[in-house]
Amino acid sequence: MREVTVEVIGVEPPCKRCQATYKNVEEAASALKAKDIDVKVLKMNVQSKDTIAKYGVLVSPSLAINNVVKVMGRVPDKKEVEKLILAALK
């Protein structure tokens, strides 16, 4: 079982695009479960001090995989999220 952490970084309360990103990530996560990959999905607040200390200024929605920001300011679809997770695991 391989593990990967995905952080969905958006505004609180989440705007439509942040929600769409989160949904796509969850769908990708359940699809990848079949491939024996455990995806931990976390929601982060783009404005929180922890996020900013970790990543700096981000444009929401942003996506970080295993602590590296891969997507900034747009909504990746489920297929792209899967592709990015698989690439990160290589």
Partner: protein, 344 residues
């Protein structure tokens, strides 16, 4: 998906974009007007329910290409502006911070949900309160949608002046606030030490057709967000055009008094995005002076809704300071522009 399919998709979208841009430029050259052509007097004979309908038909039959162009361009710009540059360069020197705020803010802040978080982000990364405030004030006044619509519906002269005025006011507010004791204390309070965050950003660049599609989708998203309230605003504008007497406009919205009045109502009065441009055009047709018009348009950064959201991040003293500076700026530039253009 094969390379060929990608190329075809990109080509189709690029053709659409070129047609949109091309048609707008063509209309400009042929001197078609993008603004509604009905004169206030023509509304007087119409029954109450028909006023907004006639106005909306008039508006959209002329202005549809402006709106289409504006949203397409806003979407493209948002998608292709390198957002990582904010993260990489914001925590540099103060000069970089201010330049970035002026340079990038107009392109990024069309989506209202990103404006305040970006302000907070800029503040927290240690770029300082100055660049953060400059960023905040550039957003509502000089973003790409507002400028495009101002240029197309009113005049490119006013749009250009609006940009210059916004830059000066935003810079002034940022620099002044960064020198005040309360600004400095906020800066110190919110200092977060970001440890080499540049190394954690490896943004993936998708293939061109996906980016173009994402850009167009974002333009559509903006339109969906903005247009409903925009339509309501237009209905209100139609009644203003129909019922606001021209002599009142002439008496109260021209001259120095007019500038002061416009700056006061243009600010706190909350108007849905872009409606202030249409309403401004309406009043301009009714006889408002150019100086007062500029003052009215520059009221965007100090509206109450904006201030409330920002006050949750910084103290009210800072908010009030920038509101006063923004108001003073709109009066000052209204006076300057009015005098220089002979339409005070």
């Amino acid at each position: 998906m094969t390379e060929k399919t990608r190329h075809v998709k990109s080509a189709i979208m690029l053709i659409f974009i070129f047609f949109t841009v091309g048609y707008l430029i063509y209309s400009r050259i042929m001197a078609y007007t993008f603004a509604p052509t009905m004169k206030p007097a023509e509304f007087h004979g119409l029954p109450l329910w028909q006023i907004p309908i006639s106005y909306l038909i008039d508006y959209f039959s002329h202005g549809w290409i402006c709106l289409l162009f504006a949203f397409v361009v806003a979407g493209l710009v948002y998608e292709f502006v390198p957002k990582e540059s904010i993260t990489k360069y914001m925590s540099g020197s103060k000069v970089t911070g201010y330049s970035l705020a002026i340079g990038i803010a107009p392109f990024l802040t069309v989506c209202s949900c990103t404006m305040v978080p970006l302000f907070a982000g800029v503040l927290y990364t240690g770029a300082g309160i100055g660049p953060a405030i400059t960023f905040l004030l550039m957003a509502p006044a000089a973003n790409i949608l507002s400028i495009l619509l101002t240029g197309e519906m009113i005049s490119w002269e006013v749009a250009g002046v609006r940009i210059i005025a916004s830059v000066v006011v935003a810079l002034a507010a940022g620099i002044i606030i960064s020198k005040t004791p309360w600004g400095k204390s906020v800066e110190k309070e919110h200092q977060v030490n970001s440890s080499s965050s540049a190394s954690r950003i490896e943004v993936v660049k998708p293939p061109l057709d996906e980016r173009l599609w994402s850009a167009l989708k974002f333009g559509g998203y903006l339109a969906k967000q903005i247009l409903p309230f925009f339509l309501l605003g237009l209905v209100a504008v139609s009644y203003v055009e129909a019922f606001l007497p021209e002599d009142i406009v002439g008496a109260y919205l021209t001259g120095i008094g007019g500038i002061l009045l416009a700056s006061v109502i243009g600010g706190p009065l909350y108007t849905p995005t872009l409606v202030e441009i249409v309403l401004g055009k309406g009043m301009f047709d009714l006889g408002m002076s150019k100086g007062a018009l500029l003052s009215w348009l520059m009221g965007q950064p100090y509206d109450v809704a904006n201030a409330l959201a920002v006050s949750r991040i910084v103290r009210w003293k800072v908010v009030l300071t920038y509101m006063i500076i923004a108001w003073a700026g709109s009066v000052a530039f209204g006076l300057i522009y009015g005098t220089l253009s002979g339409s005070l």
